[in-house]
């Protein structure tokens, strides 16, 4: 990694050189992670703990006429069984309409509540019932004894087909998802005058793009261990946000926040699908209450695939107007996002906002289908959107005989007087990457021009992505032995939040990491934190850590260090702003591929990334965030897809092998360069890193494949059969 420049767009004084930040620092819990001592949720055992299993629908759409649990109930060892009849619990975070973040009147108004068990069941894998028993074997045997009488209903799998007249209905109100105000309208954003923009163009280009359902596929399958002590519920559960999980769970179960404790010290990844609380938390809690014993609910890998969620598949129609000199005059997009039977998250399709063109119109239809649920996956709205719009622009550039990088530099968003940024480094990212990658040599000016069956080509993509500031909390304490304790409600889901928070505290306190303990992952011990979603933890909780440490420093300066059993404590919940300026991170990716046109195989030869994520706190973990996210994006570009059999509505590719996730052997070297900047906001100028890498990879890879073979690849994943098909 190199620091290509150290631009300081605005004066910002740092008190002396940094001691901890910017130095590669081993994780504070690294030893636990490599010795097996780290206790993940499924590793926790409580005395008298029962095991739970969930019965799931085998049908894509069916009404449950009757559930007979009598045989299962009388199986020795069975302690509790719950169904939609006995546990009508709303899972608020399970759907946007009536969802978690809205007020009670809004929730009351919804006609489309998502329960932990739903009738009708609306996809293969929808939950039907749950059993708690003395061991796993008994729980699984009890599931087999539950007699369910299903009335099978017609189903629909594709979002466009779901909106056609006469399509079978997933919900009675229609297949267009309502928003959180119960409006059955598409999401429309209009800027400027799209008709005028297109009329002004010399040429109009139109194309259709589609992207697949990509499962988050985190290594740790969903589980939840629930334990009631009186009226207090403790949940040991893998979550990307203990505070959010606590609040959601309390509301769904009719409790006060303080009646719920959420503990998550280690968790095996989530990439967005462990945000908020999960149905598993509510099911385990309900079974535990019924059985009067701790209950561990475990999902199998296949259940995790179908019972949790992944990135929404999309269809996107673009219409772009361009002047002969390559200036874009209008961008119109109509998109369809397949949300499955519950709209768990937005269904957004991002990307066109990265262009400066003043005439833009975007219409997105989030659509119900009888596939599994779609929700957040690392940069929820971005990779599929950037893939489509940047493929569209790449195609136009080549058709006009313009270098796509020059085309981008001509058309990308930049700060204006009306839209100031805290800093803007996209030009530098692109220039540096173009140079490092040797773009001029590697790209084919005429796509597909290599002789012979094995063809090379190069692709480029760029992005800008939110890095806004916001509130969170932290507490820091010092005792008479000069030992410091930092209390932060973070969970290290992989990026290293505990360590990052510790580094920020150590830096501000002026102490070595060895003098600091980081307490995290427990709502009874830690203050609110924003949650490990939206790449916000470093910026928001990190800033709170910084402010709490400043406060403690002032206390120590005023009172001296504590003596005896006394301690000094500081807490902070700052509400920072960016003074009206836009704050974003930036990046550019360049990739060279080799396509064997006889087999359709794509091999990545060189991959260069340049990112500006503000100041880098921990260089090694930041670099690995970019590398890992980029590889996930390559998987989305080339392999991953949850296929369904159109005749039966059955999912076909649930699992790592079937979805073709990358293995060690599929991994090219990902070169990472950070342009480090301190814009004066966030903790020491740190910005977003976790989601940044995945946004660019599908677009860059798709553009490279198209450059190699001379045919535009409009459908993800770019699997071998699709390459062979366009070359026929």
């Amino acid at each position: 990694m190199s620091e290509a420049s150290n631009q300081l767009p605005e004066p910002f004084n740092i008190d002396g050189p940094l001691n901890t930040i910017g130095n590669t620092t081993a994780r504070v819990d690294a030893v636990e992670r490599v010795t097996g001592e780290a206790k993940y949720s499924r590793d926790i055992k409580l005395p008298g703990m029962l095991y739970a299993r969930v019965l799931r629908s085998p049908h894509p759409h069916a009404r449950i006429r009757r559930i007979d649990i009598s045989a299962a109930s009388s199986l020795p060892g069975v302690r509790a069984i719950i169904t939609h009849e006995t546990a009508p619990i709303v899972w608020g975070a399970g759907s946007v309409d009536g969802g978690r973040q809205y007020d009670d009147p809004t929730k009351e108004g919804t006609q489309q509540r998502r329960f932990i068990f739903n009738n009708p069941v609306r996809c293969v894998g929808d939950s039907v019932a749950a059993v708690a028993a003395v061991d796993r074997t008994v729980a699984e045997q009890a599931l087999k004894l539950i007699k369910v009488d299903y009335e099978e209903l017609p189903f629909v799998l594709e979002p466009e087909a779901a909106l056609e007249p006469g399509a079978s209905l997933v919900w009675p109100e229609g297949n267009l998802c309502p928003d959180f105000r119960h409006n059955y309208e598409p999401m429309v954003s209009n800027l400027g005058d799209i008709d005028a923009g297109l009329a002004e163009a010399d040429q109009i280009f139109e194309d259709r793009y589609e992207t697949s359902f990509v499962h988050n596929a985190q290594m740790e399958p969903r589980c939840a261990l629930a334990h009631w002590q009186g009226q207090k519920l403790t949940l040991y559960t893998p979550t990307q946000g203990i505070s959010n999980c606590r609040h959601d769970t309390a509301r769904d179960l009719g409790l006060e926040d303080h009646q719920v404790r959420v503990v998550c010290n280690f968790m095996g990844g989530g990439f967005g699908n462990k945000n908020q609380n999960q149905d598993a938390d509510l099911v385990a809690a309900t079974l535990s209450k019924a059985a009067n014993a701790p209950v561990m609910l475990e999902y199998s890998r296949k259940e995790d695939w179908l019972g949790v969620h992944g990135r929404w598949p999309t269809v996107q129609y673009y219409k772009v107007g361009v002047k002969q000199d390559g200036m874009v005059t209008g961008i119109q997009m109509r998109g369809y996002s397949g949300m499955g039977p519950y709209r768990k998250n937005s269904g957004g399709i991002s990307g066109m906002d990265a262009y400066a063109c003043e005439n833009r119109q975007r219409t997105i239809y989030p659509v119900y289908t009888n596939r599994t649920t779609s929700g957040n996956f690392r940069a929820p709205a971005e990779p599929h959107g950037f893939f489509a719009v940047e493929s569209m622009m790449d195609d136009i550039a080549y058709k006009l005989g313009i270098d796509p990088v020059d085309f981008t530099l001509k058309n990308m968003n930049r700060p204006t007087e009306a839209r100031p940024y805290t800093n803007f480094s996209l030009d530098e990212c692109i220039a540096l990457g173009r140079d490092q990658f040797d773009w001029a040599t590697r790209r084919r000016v005429t796509p597909g021009s290599d002789e012979g069956p094995i063809k090379r080509g190069a692709g480029f993509s760029f992005m800008m992505f939110r890095a806004g500031v916001g509130t969170s909390s932290a507490i820091v304490r010092v005792d008479s032995n000069k030992m410091y304790t930092l209390f932060v409600g973070v969970t290290d889901i992989g990026p290293g939040a505990k360590t990052t928070m510790g580094m920020i505290a150590a830096e501000e306190l002026g102490i070595p990491m060895s003098q600091l303990e980081v307490v995290a992952g427990d709502t009874d011990r830690c203050p609110y934190s924003v949650g490990e979603s939206g790449s916000r933890t470093t910026i928001q909780t990190g800033y709170a850590v910084m402010q709490a440490a400043k406060d403690l420093n002032q206390q120590i300066a005023a009172k001296g260090l504590p003596t005896g059993n006394d301690v000094l404590i500081a807490s902070a919940t700052p509400v920072p702003t960016t003074d009206g300026k836009i704050r974003q991170c930036f990046g550019a990716h360049f990739v060279e591929v080799e396509v064997d046109t006889r087999t359709g195989t794509t091999k990545i030869l060189k991959y260069t990334t340049v990112h500006e994520s503000g100041r880098i706190i921990n260089p090694q973990t930041a670099k690995d965030q970019i590398r890992g996210a980029t590889l996930q994006g390559i998987g989305q570009a080339l392999h991953e897809n949850l296929l369904y059999d159109p005749a039966s509505g059955q999912p076909l590719t649930t699992g790592y092998y079937r979805a073709r996730h990358l293995t060690h052997l599929d991994v090219p070297e990902i070169e990472v360069t950070f342009i480090e900047v301190d814009d004066g906001y966030g903790p020491f100028g740190a910005k977003t890193a976790g989601e940044a890498g995945i946004i660019l990879a599908p677009a860059a890879v798709a553009n490279a494949v198209s450059n190699a073979i001379g045919k535009r690849m409009t459908s993800l994943p770019i699997s071998r059969d699709k390459i062979l098909q366009v070359l026929l």
Partner: protein, 223 residues
């Protein structure tokens, strides 16, 4: 060349010991009789437990009447003689009975490698080995890598090179890499990738893992 020896993920197919049903207890028998009472109920539902593929009628087997077998094995150098259910997998034995929860279950079907342990020095997926097959074997789990509180050079390399992101695949990566290093103390990156191909990492921290393993040679080997 010995250094190129491919680490066979599945190992050899273990010889299956004859299963010994003699250990069935009186209590098992009584509970078995109890279950018979509900066995007459006709089961016609098509619900699929845990999304298994079978829609066959429910089994009427008794929960506690699983046949059991006595086995003895060494785990991390310590000898255990115990009775195991014949349907227990090795990872269930390790996690549930021996409290060695460092070994993780990612897929429970030989796809991801999170459950990799060493059986007589060879990496195996412990989710796909029956516990009875471990009779007479020496098993090493991630808990057995550090000696006297000192991390192995490979573990230290994982600490220094950010080998774990979420850490869930880490124990499996460590075990396969340990077997590789025992055969080839100085593998190159390509050899590491070949050996670890059966260990998935969805954080996709693959490069950091390979860099960690390659760096071990410079630290004086795995032992």
């Amino acid at each position: 060349m010995a250094n190129d020896k491919h680490i066979d993920k599945q190992g050899e197919v273990p010889t299956q010991e004859p299963l010994n049903p003699k250990q069935r207890s009186r209590r098992d028998f009584l509970e078995g009789a109890g279950a018979t009472a509900v066995a007459g109920t006709a089961i016609v539902g098509t619900a699929i437990p845990g999304l298994g593929i079978s829609t066959a009628n429910a089994q009427q087997s008794n929960p506690s009447s699983n046949p059991k077998t006595s086995i003895s094995l060494r785990v991390n150098g310590r000898r255990h003689s115990l009775q195991v259910d014949d349907n227990w997998t090795l990872v269930e034995l390790l996690r549930d009975q021996l409290d060695l929860t460092g070994t993780k279950i990612g897929c429970n079907r030989s796809e991801c490698g999170a459950c990799t342990v060493l059986m007589d020095g060879k990496p195996v997926y412990s989710c796909s080995q029956l516990a009875v097959w471990a009779d007479g074997k020496a098993i090493t789990t991630v808990e057995g890598l550090a000696q006297n509180g000192r991390l192995s050079p490979l573990q230290q390399a994982f600490v220094d090179n950010n080998g774990p992101q979420c850490g869930f695949c880490t124990p499996g990566q460590l075990m396969t890499a340990t077997a590789l290093l025992n055969n080839n103390p100085a593998p190159n990156a390509e050899q590491v990738k070949q050996a670890l191909v059966g260990n998935l990492c969805r954080c996709s921290n693959y490069s950091a893992i390979v860099e960690a393993v390659v760096s071990v040679a410079d630290r004086g080997g795995v032992a």
